[in-house]
Amino acid sequence: MLFPKKYQPIIIAFIFIIISVVILSLNLRQSGETYLPRKLVLEAVTPLESIVSSSIEYLSNIWGRYIFLVGLEEENRKLRKKNASLQKEVNYYQEMYLEGMRLKKLLALKGNVDYPSVAGRVIGINRSSVFKTILINIGTTDGVRLGSPVLIDEGVIGRVIETSWNVSRVLLLTDYNSNVDALIQGSRAQGVLQGQGSKGCILKYVHRSEEVQAGDKIISSGLAGVFPKGALLGTVTKVEKKKFGLFQKIEVSQAVDFSKLEEVIVALPDEDDKK
């Protein structure tokens, strides 16, 4: 053996730490395509997450609709069962109606935008405290590329940060790593909208001389070439000017309620851009 047995654990520990540091630093430098192991994990996890999500929904439906009926009189039970089944049918039609309405809105949005786009469904939401991302069921085979902007009719959601063949991960505007070039709609003052986790967003680098008020709309400037110009990002909720400093502190509430996302539109790169 190269090393005495006594020191082997220390050497193995050292090797593990070195490996993890190397992986971390390599990934810091690379910000390009999602590589194969991550794609494979994403593809493997998607059906697993779908099964878990649908099971949870099924169980909560059973709990809500049937368990509480046990112990009631026979006739009452039959009537409630019938009522439940009718209710289920109504719910089904309502769901279909609402889905139709949402798709109609999406189609209208697709018609309004002057760039190619593709619609996708949200299949997973990362609810962790620090990372704010969602998974959608479209990937590179549908034309989605890294950095593609993701929106709905109410406004911008975020941009694609990871793509696999059939799945993509979207970085929400509220993630700490999200920075978007923005404009205040009224005054046209420029700034950078940065995510603040569950606290929403802040608009940075707006000069203290600019007049900003709560309720002002924040739109994308289109400067970085990621988001289309004029897309709604959020609304100013609080403005704070300190005694000193060049800039003012502007808190922004995002335009879209991320907890209720179901279908989204992903803007695709132009054919010219691809070339």
Binding site: F16, I23, V41, S128, S129, V130
Partner: protein, 165 residues
């Protein structure tokens, strides 16, 4: 050998369970990381090779599923694992009070490492989350850890029995 074959499947299922069902229990307000408690357990009970690989695999899957850059959780989990390993060689790691206290320290340390990585790499200050997220997270993990350690014990025994059988 069975341990290394089962490891990726078990880890993936655990991480999916953690990021879907457990997140629902906590309403997305606070991530409860069973995987981190498992890494602490591995540090106190498993040998360096088995535990180290477990920490790397769990970290990698968590990186993939949460969307963080690859290496973020791998690094944190490997550090926490070896911190536990160093402590395990100096104390008797079985008392409930010790398990709770040590899990608290490890989970809280994970929060601090997260803050430091974000500060030095992304220039983002997450320190305001210490009292709001990381401290409650460490408290919940420490309270639940005495219930989880016996489950991990049984799993370890089961895998050992299959390996020797």
């Amino acid at each position: 050998m069975i341990y290394y074959l089962m490891l990726p499947i078990f880890s993936l299922v655990l991480i999916v369970f953690q990021t879907t069902i457990l997140d629902l229990f906590f309403l997305g307000k606070m991530g409860f990381e069973v995987s981190l408690i498992l890494v602490v357990y591995a540090g106190l009970h498993l040998d360096v090779m088995k535990g180290g690989i477990l920490a790397v695999v769990l970290g990698f899957f968590l990186d993939c599923i949460t969307g963080s850059m690859t290496g973020f959780f791998i690094f944190i989990y490997v550090v926490i694992f070896f911190l536990s390993k160093v402590v395990s060689s100096r104390v008797y790691p079985e008392g409930i009070a010790f398990i709770m206290g040590f899990t608290f320290i490890c989970v809280f340390s994970k929060g601090i490492i997260t803050i430091l990585i974000y500060y030095f790499i992304y220039d983002v200050d997450l320190s305001h989350n210490v009292l709001r997220i990381f401290l409650p997270q460490a408290l919940v993990a420490s309270v639940l850890s005495p219930a989880l350690f016996p489950i991990f014990d049984r799993l370890e025994v089961l895998l050992d029995a299959q390996s020797s059988g």
